[in-house]
Structure formats: C-alpha cells, structure tokens
C-alpha cells in the first residue's frame, strides 16, 4: 500500500476509499493461488502538493519561570479546541498515560514538571494512577499532550489539516512543548551512559530527525 506510516488504509474519514482498500486485500483470496505480494496502485486521495500549513493561533512567548508554567500557559490555548473536537467526534485518544479525559491539565503539569526537575525515576505526583512506570511513562505523557494539541488543531479554522511533518516542524520549531520534549531528551541522553535503556526511551519520545543533530535512538 503506497500510504504514509500511520494510515494503512490510506485516508481518514473516507469510508469509500477505505472499503476499496479492504476489498482489494480480501479479493486476493479469490484471485491468488499461492502466497505473494501485490501492489495497490492507487494513491490516497489526500496525497499531493499542498499549500503550506500554519497554526492559526498566534503563540506569543509563554511567560513563566518554569517549563511547567510555560507549557501550562501554552496548552491552555489548545484545551478548549481539543474539547470541541472531542464533542464533535464523540471520542478521544487522550489517556494513553492512564489519565482520564478530565485530567488533561494534570498531564500537562506532569510533563512540564519532568522537564523542570530532570527526575527520570519518580512518577509525577499529580493525583493520577499512571498506567506506566518511569521512565516509559514519559513517552506516554508526551503522547497525551501531543494528542491535546493534535485534536485541538482538528477543530480550528484553517485551509487544510496539517501533515505529520507539518506537526513535527511546528512542535519542534515553534512551541514550548517542543522545548520541553528536547529538554527531557537531554536528561535522557545525560543519564544514558549509566542506563543505556534511556536511549531507547529518547527514541520513543523524539521522532527521528528531530533531536539536535543526532539520531533519536
């Protein structure tokens, strides 16, 4: 299938295209006589040249002395829009960390506190029964905060939805969240000499190509 990673059926919210992909796979059972690989020749309908994407919110520099304060201020701009998306979709993928849907501010606070303290051992105490222990919890705190941002952008006015690369460019070039992720990655890097597993955690937190001038893993 000629589709980007993360969308094996090609296009979100395009039921007809998805059915076409499923049919193409299932039909192989009646057209093949032995195991094999057959290419799907059609690109997803939303692939192609697109105009540049920009976040519609003007993110003025978030004030505060700590990452937790600055990230909290930034995330508060997105929470109402994320709530709008949840209402529209009737669901959310927020909660990978173990947090409930009404604990978004606590998750933001927890991620910011890790960036402030560099504590890679003790789970942030914000009243959440985390689904993971540290340091793997960090990966899912990042995922949950990114989900808030992604789901917020899905409801904001704009000419088109951002791509995966658009989002990574924006997060790592323009947001406090990007600063927080890189700061935590630096802590993981510094501690990896004694705990090599932390290099893998860094690779789960920072997409490849986004960690300074080196591999994320």
């Amino acid at each position: 299938m000629p589709f980007p990673l993360g969308r094996p059926l090609g296009s979100a919210s395009d039921a007809e295209f998805q059915r076409t992909v499923v049919r193409a796979a299932l039909d192989l059972l009646s057209t093949q006589i032995e195991p094999g690989i057959v290419d799907f020749a059609t690109d997803a309908p939303d692939v192609g040249e697109q105009e540049p994407w920009a976040c519609p919110l003007n993110l003025a520099p978030a004030t505060g002395d700590s990452f937790a304060d600055r990230l909290g201020a930034e995330a508060s701009r997105f929470l109402p829009w994320a709530a709008e998306t949840r209402r529209r979709r009737g669901r959310s993928l927020f909660g990978a960390s173990g947090a409930a849907l009404d604990q978004q501010r606590e998750v933001v606070q927890a991620l910011g506190s890790v960036a402030d303290s560099g504590n890679l051992t003790d789970a942030p105490g914000v009243g959440i029964d985390w689904a993971f222990e540290m340091p793997l919890l960090i990966r899912h705190l990042v995922d949950d905060v990114r989900t808030i941002y992604h789901e917020a952008l899905a409801s904001q006015p704009g000419s088109r939805a951002p791509t995966h690369d658009d989002l990574n460019d924006w997060i790592f070039d323009s947001t406090v969240l990007g600063e927080v992720i890189i700061a935590i990655a630096d802590y993981l890097t510094a501690a990896a000499d004694e705990q090599p597993i932390l290099t893998f955690i860094r690779g789960f937190v920072v997409p490849e190509g986004r960690y300074r001038d080196q591999s994320s893993f």
């Binding site: 993360g6 969308r7 059926l9 059972l29 006589i33 959310s92 689904a131």
Partner: protein, 140 residues
C-alpha cells in the same frame, strides 16, 4: 536498512478459503490499540489485546511506543488503522459473511517478528475456534 536486516518469516501453506460472502472476517492489527481499561503495551511487548466486535471507538486508546508514524489519522478516524466499521458495512452489503466476535491487537515496532510466533499461533487457534475464516492483517 533496518527492514533489510529483519529476520525473514517464510510464508505458510496456501489455503483456499470459502467465498467471501460466506466468510467471517477478523482484524489483526499491529497499531497498539486496546480498550481504555486494558493493560497498555510496553516496549518489546509480545502480548496481544482482544477487542470485541461490538467495540465503540470511544473506548479505545493507542499505546504504541513509536514516535515515528502519523497519529493524526487514527485520532481523526480509527478505521484508517482498525477498519471495524468498514467490515460491518461490507457485511451489511452482503460482501462478507460476517464480522468476528473478537479482533486482536498487537504492537509492532519489533525488529524480530519471529518472536511473535507463540502469540500469533495462539491467536490463530482462537480465531479458528471462533469460526473465523479470514484474518485481515493490518500493520501500521
């Protein structure tokens, strides 16, 4: 390059299934999705989670560890990686015989896929016992 270094898994024997219109279909996904209250996937996880055929997407989360694939599509429409609604529609249209009572979710990101053999064999037995004729494997 990492894919080139992965262990090769030989194809299994070819089994001609029943006509699709008479076949029950199950999804086997590697997207790391599971019900909100289920144990999350952890790095190197070789286990699987069961997802009932009656599931509503509002009850599912994704704890796949990789940071290197686009999650916005699944956030927008989980069918893009777990096409449960599409199977229901194909069943309603008479194109497939049925949708399985149970579907299965693994987490990919495993350099040596042969490590999944034990769990995969177990899922195969469960699918057969449930009367499933076709497993739709959906990697992410």
């Amino acid at each position: 390059m990492r894919a080139d270094n992965m262990a090769r898994v030989a194809p299994g024997p070819w089994i001609t299934p029943k006509p699709l219109a008479e076949s029950t279909v199950a999804i086997v996904s590697t997207a790391g999705m599971h019900r909100r209250g289920d144990p999350p996937f952890v790095a190197g996880d070789l286990s699987y989670r069961i997802i009932p055929g009656t599931s509503d997407f509002s009850d599912l989360v994704m704890t796949h560890v990789s940071a290197n694939f686009d999650r916005t599509a699944v956030q927008d429409d989980p069918n893009v990686a777990f096409p449960l609604d599409r199977l229901r529609e194909l069943h309603d249209a008479g194109e497939i015989g049925g949708v399985s009572n149970w579907h299965y979710s693994f987490m990919g990101a495993m350099p040596n896929p042969s490590l999944f053999e034990e769990a995969g064999t177990e899922v195969g037995r469960l699918l057969a016992a449930d009367g499933v004729d076709v497993a739709l494997l959906v990697p992410i």
